[in-house]
């Protein structure tokens, strides 16, 4: 394999990653508009900031090759991997504490978890 084939393969691989990432970003944004309430919209946002963003970063890593830029991109994806669920959880917990409940809730076991915390707080 000469230099040009490697370059071509790299372009194809990163193109696939960019295209798939773009499709997931579009679907996530579409869901953000279409879903009915805060709770279900969180899941659409979840697609955007996990699969969408990570696929874009993977595409950029393939383009950059074995350079310092790839290390930095790897660090960005690692930090995104840790911080994005934390932010999502913060929003969900704030909505829960504020008393917002999902529309058309099918099953609610909140008392199983929160009841014990309340009891524990009362005891101490």
């Amino acid at each position: 394999m000469d230099f040009f084939t490697v370059d071509l393969l790299r372009d194809i691989a990163s193109g696939i990653a960019f295209a798939a990432g773009g499709v997931f970003l579009l679907i996530g944004t579409f869901g953000l508009v279409r879903l009915p309430d805060v709770w279900s919209r969180l899941h659409a946002a979840g697609i955007v900031d996990t699969v969408g963003a990570e696929l874009m970063l993977i595409g950029m890593m393939i383009q950059a090759g074995f350079t310092q830029a790839t290390v930095k991109l790897l660090l960005i994806s690692l930090f995104l991997f840790v911080t994005s669920p934390t932010a999502t959880h913060a929003v969900a917990n704030a909505a829960f504490v504020a008393g917002i409940r999902p529309v058309r809730l099918r099953r609610n076991e909140a008392a199983d978890v929160i009841g014990e915390t309340v009891k524990k707080a009362a005891k101490s």
């Binding site: 899941h43 310092q68 930095k72 660090l75 991997f81 999902p102 929160i114 524990k120």
Partner: protein
């Protein structure tokens, strides 16, 4: 002490990766600044299991690979829900038991649930997590049990 050395090595690796300088003078400055940071961290008593999680098994990396596949699978499932003409939403708040012993294990499990599209951890209490799921398909207890087992396996050496 082990934790201080580990933090020093990790900090210097980060310094090298972000700066890309290899001149002796700048390397010395980098080592000095890393040493100063470790000194400050030790003075603030930050060198514990939370800041320097050496107790985690290396198989955490394998777990991340498995988690990546799970995330991709459930992202496809959520995409199907979003693109369906009549969106099949049946929202649920379910209690998920967790078997981890340490706080770090709880954090990894809760964050993994939130990272997977279709499920979000809302609150914790009494050894259980309150999880919001988009519909019945995402609320299957077998999936959570498997994830719970894998997190417990990487938690403590």
């Amino acid at each position: 002490m082990t934790k201080a050395v580990a933090l020093l090595v990790a900090l210097f690796a980060l310094w090298l990766a972000l700066s890309g300088y290899f001149k002796p003078f700048l390397l010395t400055l980098g080592v000095l600044s890393c040493l100063f940071t470790v000194f400050l961290a030790a003075r603030m008593k930050l060198l514990d299991d939370e800041a320097v999680p050496l107790q985690l098994r290396l198989s955490l990396l394998l777990y991340w690979g498995w988690l990546g596949r799970e995330i991709f699978k459930s992202a496809l499932a959520v995409s199907k829900v979003i693109l369906a003409r009549e969106m099949p939403i049946g929202q649920q708040l379910i209690a998920i038991p967790s078997t981890q012993k340490t706080e770090m294990g709880h954090v990894i499990f809760a964050n993994s649930i939130t990272l997977t599209p279709g499920t979000v951890t809302v609150a914790a209490g009494g050894g259980r997590f309150l999880v919001h799921a988009l519909n019945e398909g995402f609320a299957a207890p077998e999936g959570f049990a498997e994830m719970d087992k894998r997190v417990t396996a990487v938690e403590v050496r």
